[in-house]
């Protein structure tokens, strides 16, 4: 029996990635990293800034995302996100820009706890990329 399922990543502009033959996806869910294999229970969860790792026959691919929702159902994984970057062709300068913006935001005084938590996450992830 095959151990593969379908993944679809969409952002508002387009369908970012569609793959039929993924064996494992690791997503940065809100309450910690979550690995999804075939026949996972149906789940809906939030994503926090982090790295999505998609493993398939053709190798691993890594994507950096800033937010999103993940839905898994009947071996279909859908990820909705408004900002996603493929790590392999992500420029260092883009990373620096994002990091700078995030740090600016973290420096604001009127930021609430949840937003602060997300921004801190973002900074942490971006720092490990560099």
């Amino acid at each position: 029996m095959s151990e593969e399922f379908k993944i679809e990543i969409v952002n508002p502009e387009k369908s970012f990635l569609v793959k039929e033959d993924v064996s494992e996806v690791v997503v940065p869910a809100f309450e910690g990293e979550m690995g999804i294999l075939k026949d996972h229970i149906s789940i809906i969860s939030f994503l926090k800034p982090g790295i999505i790792k998609v493993s398939s026959k053709s190798g691993d691919e890594n994507y950096y995302i800033e937010d999103g929702i993940v839905e898994f159902k009947n071996n279909n994984l859908s990820i909705l996100t408004s900002s996603i970057y493929n790590l392999s062709d992500m420029d260092k300068s883009v990373q620096q820009d994002l990091l700078k913006k995030a740090e600016e935001e973290a420096g604001k005084s009127d930021i609430n706890d949840q937003a602060k938590y997300l921004v801190d996450q973002k900074i942490e992830v971006l720092k490990t990329l560099n």
Partner: protein
Amino acid sequence: MASLDDLKKRIASVKSTQKITKAMKMVAAAKLRKAQESAEKGRPYSEKMNNVILNLSSGISDKENAPKLLAGTGQDKVHLCVVMTSDRGLCGGFNSNIIKKAKSYFSKILDENKELKIITVGSKGNDQLKRIYGDKIIENISFKESKNANYFDADKVGKIIIEKFEAGEFDVCTIFYNKFKNVITQIPQAQQIIPLNDEGSENSSDESYEFEPDEDEILSNLLPKNISTQIFKAMLENSASEQGSRMSAMDNATRNAGEMVDKLTIEYNRSRQAAITKELIEIISGAESL
């Protein structure tokens, strides 16, 4: 009858107008392809988003305490209408179709003695509405600077709407835009976004989901996003419709200008011929009298 010189000038001016409309048609055609493409590409996101929300809301057992964005305020007094139009003119009936639809909705609301508030997106809608409903317009947003519809702009509009909703400024929110069917047909749409109208929900899933964190938290985070997504969808549809509408309007204009040039040319030739004949008659009758 107009003199030969006048006719000549008119033909030249109609021809140059034709050149402009032709160029505009070409530009619209090129832009249309792009806009149509992005409208089609944007559909999966809003559909998926809708699906997730439907699944979520069917999972909520306690409807009473459901987030207000989903269930509404329980009242139906103040209506907010977001009228989305273009920033540029010369696009046929595009803007007036939306306005017409919106106006009939407005008068219905006012007839029912409800309060009306209007947000216009795009300057053309504002121009047309401010004459009659000027006191009802609470905000006018325009994205003249951004070339293409982008999510960032939609998010801005969405945030404004949500802010006003949370401040209790309205109960029901409806957006007006043109849905792109094809180049010739665009259908003006009125879509209610707050409270969420689950029309056509085929409630396919009896399946239970696992939620992380819990439903309420996901929903309260997701619903504002959904507003922006719906607005973005409307913006994409609108920009495709605008270009389609402009293309067919300019196509018509070019054709009309062509017909006019033909007519004027015939008239010009006739009067030139008449002048020649007149001169000949004068010469001949002059020669005869000698």
